[in-house]
Amino acid sequence: MTLLQFWRSHASEFASLVGQHMMLVGLSTVVAVAAGVPLGILAAHRPRLGAPIVWLANMVQTIPSLAMFGFLLPLPFIGGLGARMAIVVLILYALLPIVRTTTAGLRSVDPALVEAGTALGMTPGQLLREVELPLALPSIVAGIRVAAVIGVGTATIAAAVGAGGLGEYIFRGLSMVDPTVIFAGAVPSALLALSIDGALTLIERRLRAGRRQRPRRRVAVAVALLAALAAGGIVLARRTPAGTIRVGSKSFTEQIILGELLAQAIETRTRLPVERRLNLAGTFICDRALRTGDIDMYVEYSGTAETAIFHAPPAGGREEVLARLAQRYAAADLTLLPPLGFENTFAMLVRGADARANGWRTLSDLVPDAPTLKAGFGYEFLQRQDGYPGLVRAYRLRFAGTPAAMDLSLTYRALAERQVDLIAGDATSGLIEGYDLVMLADDRHYFPPYDAVPIVRGAVLREHPEVGEALSHLAGRIDAAAMRRMNHAVDAGHRDAADVAREFLDMIK
């Protein structure tokens, strides 16, 4: 599928994502200007107060954006999934360039002019408005430009916390290992950054050079431009009606398909509107979002829930784990629905050619050769109790060097391209067939059971019993083979998760 075809077939979604992106950047930049310029003035006029302001803004800039989302997620008011927190984060990032250039611009004003203004009888406020700010304006506009361009880039990360925007395509493309989908988000995002950069550079250059234009009018144009960006974004980004059921998912293909299955099951069997907050960055964020009510449901895996969420050592069989989980979730008024029917255990994957050449069938087979192998794992697997640390202990594994840490969605390709020799993927991944990979059996039964189970907020089930009824039709209906087929259709067949889910629902009707 070419880029143009993709955009054409996703036209309304694309418009909505572009809108969300513009809204995120426009709104956050306007607020950052409103806060940053006064802070910059303060920093320029009161260096003692200013130093800590600039220091703080500098500190904020050093925090990676995804980590910042993680920090803020649990906070009241500003935290939570969606555009609000994304805008808060974007504002924080936009502040530094604006504060800094405002301060620098004011400091570069010729002291003789400040003296002249004072001698003419200007009050400090008049001096600021009439002399200092107009002269600092080109510098301030340069700061706004930098802030907005950074904002366009950072806003793509906002998709990880359900704020939408063009990052949706980038994350989706990464999880599908489909460059077309990545470009579908990355190209317009880059174009947006370039056009904002170009427009503001033009304004800045005119301000610096001619002095012929009325500066006030230029600023008005710049502010109007950003406001229009925000307003246009708000129009394009669809509003959600009240009583909407919000379905979440993690950011890999299977989760997105499962999210679609839940969403479409509710859409076809009830009259409730559904909002999709798919592509959330990992277990932690999904669980947080569920507990704060930012999403109403998502599909979790029993072993993951037990170890990664409740930090309990994995023990017991499938039924035992499920019963224990139901109790634990009930404490937070969350309901564990019956399992969907398949297990998605961690799959220790190697290239098919290597497995056949070395006769590897189980993980134990691999142990003697491990010191010559390079491993690559997703961030979550490296951290989790039921992940890498326990695995090496259980099998006494030693690899060549420390495992490469990378995004889960990138590990398959890294393995296929021989950058690493062993990865921890999903047992149901469509890429296993696509790339001719072999899953090594967990012969020591290290991994706990990973039954896929929908977890739903109790309040939603009580308020809308029809939701529980609609979802009950999925119970036990998705076996591992079906899941793998759907994953394969999306990952290798480059089909839309929504279409694949719809066909499956039609089939099991």
Binding site: A116, G117, A119, G121, E130, V131
Partner: protein, 254 residues
């Protein structure tokens, strides 16, 4: 009308940083006079001007403007009441000539039509054709033209007092001579109280109705130019020396 002195310094001590530049400075400036204060660099010339419009405060002593201590004036009213011109002119580069001249009238809340009429009047007064100069920016003017706009701006709200800090110091000698004649013409018309500081005794002689010589933080002499020229005070003599040298060259050169 106030018949007393326009400006009075009594026993003023003032410092710039750690250096005491004025030590018991006294000065009386009658209304309508042009007093030119001459001194070496660092003699406290600019300090005197800034004390008058309260951009600096004295350590001790009093400064009265129109019979009232500057400390009793609202400092913004005081500054709008006093025209100020400095060496760098200090025209605002982001404002047109007309807007630069209109700064103080605008601060005083004049109506736009009154301001516009006043700007035209002042541009004509300083010899700049309003139709071709009002809309220009300072960067589009020559040094002499900027200086003229500076004069117009200082006079904009018709202040009774005008302070000039080395006003023509940055100009070439020919343009400076031209400005000196212009100043004489304007001052003959307006009769402002003018305090002008310069390190150039020649300029002081041309412009001042009285010339004051600053030395050691106080006034060494103040008198009409002809009297100053005859002074035997060594502190006055040393400032006169460049003028005497020039005259000697002219007279003895042939």
């Amino acid at each position: 009308m106030d018949t007393g002195p326009a400006i009075r310094f009594a026993g003023v001590h003032a410092s710039r940083g750690a250096v005491e530049v004025l030590r018991g400075f006294d000065l009386l400036i009658p209304t309508g006079e042009t007093v030119a204060l001459v001194g070496r660099s660092g003699a406290g010339k600019s300090t005197i001007l800034k004390l008058i419009n309260r951009m600096l405060a004295p350590r001790t002593g009093t400064i009265d403007v129109e019979g009232r201590s500057v400390a009793a004036w609202d400092r913004f009213d005081l500054r709008r009441h006093i025209g100020y011109m400095m060496q760098e002119v200090g025209l605002f580069p982001h404002m047109t000539v007309a807007r630069n001249i209109a700064v103080v009238p605008a601060l005083l809340g004049w109506s736009p039509s009154r301001i516009e009429a006043r700007v035209d009047e002042l541009l004509s007064l300083v010899g700049l054709e309003p139709a071709s100069y009002a809309a220009r920016y300072p960067a589009e003017l020559s040094g002499g033209q900027r200086q003229r706009v500076g004069v117009a701006r200082a006079l904009a709200a018709d202040p009774p007092i005008l302070l000039m800090d080395e006003p023509f110091g940055a100009l070439d000698p020919v343009t400076r001579g031209e400005m000196h004649r212009e100043f004489g013409r304007i001052q003959a018309q307006l009769r402002k109280t003018v305090v002008l500081v310069t390190h150039d005794m020649g300029e002081a002689f041309v412009l001042g109705t009285r010339v004051g010589v600053l030395a050691d933080g106080a006034l060494a002499a103040i008198d009409v130019p002809s009297a100053i020229a005859r002074s035997s005070d060594p502190r006055v003599q040393s400032l006169l020396q460049p003028l005497l040298d020039a005259t000697a060259v002219l007279e003895g050169g042939r």
